[in-house]
């Protein structure tokens, strides 16, 4: 069951990821990215990390990507045109891509040889994540929040300049 679920959603994730690059229209790319994030969330869920799955959907698919789509709609960005495709990219890129994939498979195989089972990961509940964030990873957590605060302030400063 978990293998079937994994295969279905892994394939959806990869197809959507390729679609992000292939599509010429920004909105279609953005929607494909939502597909990638949704299937990633389900993969997290099959692993037993339910909080991460929910956070993935709420934050990335539900907030960040909605803003992406919103901005694309607001700017009314048109479809991109394909031009200047060099044949060099195909000749060099194809073999390089295959080499990279082989390298990646070999690396993962040699490093992480044990298989993962459905629900094999304990500690993905909201309580566990919260405890880990506020004890083990307190410093990175706080530093990240300050980083986000700086980003918000930066956004306000930039927007102000525009208005004057």
């Amino acid at each position: 069951m978990d293998v079937i679920l994994f295969l279905i959603f892994a394939i959806i994730a990869v197809v959507c990821a390729i679609n992000v690059v292939v599509q010429t229209h920004p909105i279609s790319s953005a929607i494909s990215l939502v597909g990638v994030m949704g299937s990633l969330a389900i993969l997290y869920l099959t692993l037993g990390a339910e909080f991460l799955a929910a956070a993935q959907v709420i934050v990335y698919a539900g907030a960040v990507m909605v803003l992406f789509v919103f901005v694309i709609m607001l700017l009314n960005a048109g479809a991109e045109t394909k031009k200047g495709q060099s044949s060099m990219a195909l000749f060099l890129g194809g073999p390089l891509l295959v080499a990279l994939l082989i390298l990646l498979v070999w690396f993962v195989q040699s490093r992480y040889s044990e298989t993962v089972h459905f629900g094999g990961f304990r500690g993905g509940s909201a309580q566990d994540v919260g405890r880990a964030l506020f004890t083990t990873y307190l410093l990175p957590f706080e530093v990240t929040s300050i980083l986000i605060l700086i980003a918000i302030l930066g956004a306000i400063v930039l927007a102000r300049k525009e208005m004057d």
Partner: protein, 391 residues
């Protein structure tokens, strides 16, 4: 395992059928309520008191021509209503309606599935619902639809923040993310509910306001302001595609009302404990309705009423008797309280639609960012402090 699957399938069918009927009749109720607020009869022609109007509307919507305008982005244009209705119906699957009950020897919860991240699931699904509206507006290739879609996505992103923050406050008090446990921690009467016991009256009000905006209802229905935007994001949609947006709006209303009841109003818990007679209230209400119907049947204003009203009276008496049966009481009374609370909030929706004018767009945005959001943050901070001090 087999029993589990069969019970789940039965539950899915029952919940789906009830939800669909409620969706259709909610619209009839809304038209009636607004009509009576504006002193007119409302739907009256199809069936007695227009009771068959929803059926007529469904037939009309199905048989209308399903038009796809030229120059639309076809895949997204077709996917948008589907997305909207799917996301709206999906979140009902984690909403609990009543306690765990025994049916023919099997123990089952009055809920499709109890997730331990139920609250987050509802938030995630409802945040995905924005895509349906935004993409409908964009893919229609119509400037009014685009403006409607833009307005609604901006509005839903903005109001999601105070909404999530106010949900966090009762979660802090109840210390759980499962909707069923949330209700279990509030049982024991009105003074145990989060809105009283946890002092969450502020976050309850913010939740209600943000919920109105999330479901694009008056006074926040800017995305479909007809005098500015024709019909907003669904201008180019006809037939069942239009109906799916319509159904999605009403399904979202029901979900949000259920969430308000579960988070703040104690779910299916009676306002006071059963030993002081709260389980007799539903029977008393229906018996009273029966008496009123019989009385008006005796002194009929029209000749027809002398026949129909006594029938209604007897039906009400039978319902009241059913509520008194001990075997039915264990699940019917909690269900009654849940529906009564949800219905009250839905009535509030209609009441406000009948009485309040629409916001201006800058007022809408200023209201959430300059008022609702800071108050929600403050409320969360205070709640956090109190919870930390008490525990």
């Amino acid at each position: 395992m087999d029993a589990f699957i069969v019970i789940s399938l039965i539950k899915i069918v029952v919940v789906f059928a009830v939800l669909m009927t409620t969706l259709a009749y909610l619209q009839w109720v809304e038209r009636k309520v607004i009509a009576h607020i504006q002193i007119r009869p409302g739907p009256y022609r199809v069936g007695p008191h227009g009771l068959l109007q929803p059926l007529a509307d469904v037939i009309k919507l199905i048989t209308k021509e399903d038009l796809v305008p030229p120059y639309v982005n076809k895949p997204l244009y077709l996917a948008a209503p589907f997305m909207a209705i799917t996301m709206a119906l999906l979140s009902i699957s984690v909403i609990p309606f009543g306690p765990v009950i025994q049916v023919a020897g099997y123990q089952t919860a009055m809920q499709l599935t109890d997730l331990n991240i139920g609250v987050l699931f509802v938030l995630a699904v409802s945040s995905m619902g924005v895509y349906g509206i935004a993409l409908a507006g964009w893919s229609s290739n119509n400037k009014y639809a685009l403006l409607g879609g833009l307005r609604s996505s901006a509005q839903m992103i903005s109001y999601e923040l105070p909404l999530s923050l106010t949900i966090a406050a009762p979660l802090l008090i109840s210390n759980t993310l499962s909707l069923r446990t949330l209700v279990d921690r509030q049982t024991g009467g009105i003074w145990h509910w989060n809105v009283i016991h946890g002092g969450q009256i502020v976050s309850f009000l913010i939740f209600l306001i943000a919920a109105f905006a999330e479901t694009n209802r008056v006074p926040f229905d800017l995305p479909e302001a007809e005098n500015e935007l024709v019909a907003g994001f669904h201008t180019e949609y006809s037939s069942m595609k239009f109906a799916s947006f319509f159904m999605a709006e009403y399904a979202n209303m029901i979900t949000v009302s259920c969430m308000a009841v579960l988070l703040f109003l104690g779910g299916w818990d009676a306002p006071w404990p059963a030993q002081y007679g709260s389980s007799l209230v539903p029977a008393a209400i229906f018996a009273f309705a029966g008496v009123v119907a019989l009385y008006h049947g005796m002194h009929a204003a029209r000749r027809r009423d002398a026949k129909t009203l006594p029938v209604f009276g007897i039906v009400f008496f039978i319902i009241a008797a059913v509520f008194l049966l001990p075997m039915m009481q264990s699940w019917l009374v909690p269900l009654f309280w849940f529906c009564a609370k949800t219905g009250s909030i839905l009535f509030l929706y209609m009441w406000i639609r009948g009485t309040l004018p629409r916001f201006r767009y800058d007022q809408l945005m200023g209201f959430t960012w300059k008022f609702l959001f800071p108050v929600a943050v403050l409320n969360l901070l205070v709640t956090g402090f109190v919870v930390a001090l008490v525990s």
